[in-house]
Symmetry: C2
Subunit: 437 residues, 2 copies
């Protein structure tokens, strides 16, 4: 049972150090400053006190749900053996095991873990997060990687640096996160076990999965079938060049991408083409359940409407044929210069109210599954009211993606969108909708 | 000769108004506050003075190189006829001509223009810019669309809203702009004439072209062949859905995209897939002349290196096989954990110095045409020094694209990169390099 890793009530930090820049100390301070509610026991035989806490040795550390090891690889199994009787689980962040050719250290670690009946997470990983419990056990300073906002999306990733960057980015796009697992070498706890845990976790609604290769594809498929939550995949190692690079990175046998793609399609998972699409598709999926085939587009710039249309068709979706009611209703309300086809082009005189009217019509129109809205904040009659207007539709049951390119005035407005996914480019909006399998 | 439009010494503004939010007044103030060095004559029969300037009527306005018309469509040819003897050229921003079915107004306008031997730019367009002359004749307030930084990239676009958004974005990515032409309906001055002008303009090194459809493909090809400057195209209307939308937007016959693509390839132009790629490829092309086939990748996160490799291969470029000298040189300098293949993976302990050493090696290596550098600012040993280190290589003759995703700490650092193109995602870096035909 992996719950002990994500919901520990007490944590021992092996490798807590005097130096503020050492990973063990950074992790300790992330726990303390992140207001983790449980007990924290720093472990270091050479220190008595750190950050106002008593420091223990491996031999006298109190009983702990989770032991975190940030000490040199060749010291890990010794320390685990000493503290073993008082630990329920172990997260090994240190690298220098099998991935560096030291399979002897892997064997020693597994032996000690078995002796004390302890599950091992890692080694060679970034760590874990559970935002609902103020749990941030990673060794990157919070100034570099703040804990992302609380939410219901959980992400698993073999790669530590990738997940660090993706989580940082998640904060920028206001993606609410529940749990994070960087699982590294999978010496014991495996990708499919974590996926299974997320599938059963009540605080997880949507799952994000960064994949280079899989430990056991069959187990993964079994677990994915049993659980039924939506999963969005970001796959690295799609081409022969990428597969070669992945092999050198995590030793992953990235295998045949087409086979992997087939499995993903079979499971009904979404497949993102890059990290931004991954994050925004997760955000959209955490808001809406629907799959999108027929897209409605509202724009105030014709060119961006054209590019959005290109994106929709290129990704095998369709420009919705608006219902007669929508067309006649909007034609009555709007001046002649407004093109009430799809895209609806409100032109350069567009106002927030015109967007509101158009949105209402598309939300009602049964011919439309999802909506792309292009706002160009250079236009003089648009202002920050557009944010409230559009976010007012976030609760409706149709996926919406906002397109608003960055700019001197625009970027400030863009940063106000917290409830809707926002992209800079029209073709990206189509990409986000297309991932919502 | 179009030079009179881009280098006028005196400008008459027809439609200068008391209301601060009227387009004519906005344009007048853009000229005044933008410190345009020439004479400016506001024209409005009902006002005596505006912004400290004497206001004229169409009949008594002084001799002007350029007359700008921001008055209702049905009043334009009358005003032009009255002022005609004292105008050398006319820029018509007003819409409501042929694009709204009023071909009678087109005919009247052309007749008056011919009578006074005046070239017409527009109508139905955003206007012009020449940053080298502090010339910003557009009707969007500078608070919404600041004049972009001075540089040597000139952009032409039929669509006004698209170019407004692209120019605003250009400021965000620090793309230096020389001249901008939003040409609208092309009643007289045509896309290929503007292209020809940019081809011959000494302050233009690289040309950006937003295209929905062409006025005269043959003329364009002739002009493009004669001039020899690099051109990057952003084409909207690639799919049947996009072509339909383009037709409704600018009335452009977007035609067969494959045919257009063939022409572009034949001309050796680069083709961007979206506005961001367009801007960054223009930036890269304005710095470096080289085409990139064999790519070197430096990363501090394996996963992002894998994704960059995927991007390179997917876009028909190659992961460079590094020279033996590079490999042995770097292997000597770096600890064992650093993977000195391509991608060079400096791992999570990467320092700015390690990036400097790797960059020097790839710049020297004849097997490498261009470089993708991934920096993940979550890593504790990276700091703002990385900006100086990497920008130190901007003067070398190999294209470089930085990948740095946004983040709490990262975004501040990212904004410091003014000399190198920077993207958020690895696959986008490959895309920018691939556009450098």
């Amino acid at each position: 049972m992996l719950d002990i890793f994500f919901n520990p009530k007490s944590i021992a930090v092996f490798g807590a150090s005097r130096s503020l820049d050492k990973p063990g100390r950074v992790l300790l301070r992330n726990l303390i400053h992140g207001e983790f509610g449980g007990e924290v026991y720093p472990v270091n035989p050479n220190i008595k006190e750190l950050d106002g806490l008593r420091v223990y040795t491996a031999k006298n550390v109190p009983k702990s749900d989770l032991g975190i090891f940030v000490i040199p690889a060749d010291k890990v199994s010794g320390a685990l053996d000493e503290a073993g009787p008082r630990l329920k689980s172990a997260l090994i962040l240190s690298g220098g095991f099998g991935e560096s050719g030291r399979t002897d250290l892997d064997a020693a670690l597994l032996k000690v873990a078995k002796k004390h009946n302890i599950r091992i997470f890692g080694p060679n990983c970034l760590g874990l997060m559970n935002t609902h419990k103020n749990l941030n056990v990673t060794f990157l300073p919070a100034s570099r990687l703040p804990t992302p906002p609380i939410g219901d999306v959980s992400i698993l990733s073999q790669s530590g640096a990738t997940i660090a960057s993706v989580l940082d980015w998640a904060g920028e796009v206001k993606l609410g996160i529940s749990k994070v697992a960087s699982y590294g070498n999978q010496l014991d706890v495996s990708d499919y076990e974590i996926l299974d845990y997320f599938m059963k976790d009540k605080e997880t609604k949507v799952i994000g999965f960064y994949v280079e290769g899989l430990k056991d594809g069959k187990e993964l498929i079994r677990v994915a079938r049993a659980g039924k939550k939506p999963v969005i995949v970001l796959k690295a190692g799609k081409t022969s060049a990428g597969i070669k690079a992945a092999k050198s990175h995590t030793g992953a046998l990235a295998g045949n991408y087409k086979v992997f793609e087939g499995v993903v399609t079979q499971l009904g998972w979404g497949m993102a083409q890059g990290p931004e699409e991954f994050l925004l598709a997760l955000k959209a999926r955490s808001i809406w359940k629907k799959k999108v085939h027929r897209v409605g587009i509202i724009t105030c710039g014709g060119g961006f409407g054209v590019m959005a249309s290109d994106g929709v068709e290129a990704l095998d979706m369709k420009i919705a044929k608006l219902s007669e009611e929508t067309v006649s209703g909007l034609s009555e309300k709007f001046p002649e210069r407004v093109s009430v086809a799809n895209p609806i082009d409100l032109t350069g005189d567009a106002t927030p109210e015109m967007f509101a009217i158009s949105m209402e019509a598309l939300i009602k129109d049964d011919e439309v599954d999802g909506i792309i809205v292009v706002i160009l904040m250079q236009l003089p009659r648009l202002n920050s009211e557009i944010v409230d207007v559009l976010q007012g539709f976030a609760e409706e049951d149709k996926p919406i993606v906002i397109v608003s390119p960055p700019g001197a005035y625009a970027s400030g407005i863009n940063s106000l969108f917290d409830k809707l996914p926002l992209v800079s480019s029209p073709e990206k909006a189509a990409a986000v909708l297309s991932v919502l399998e």
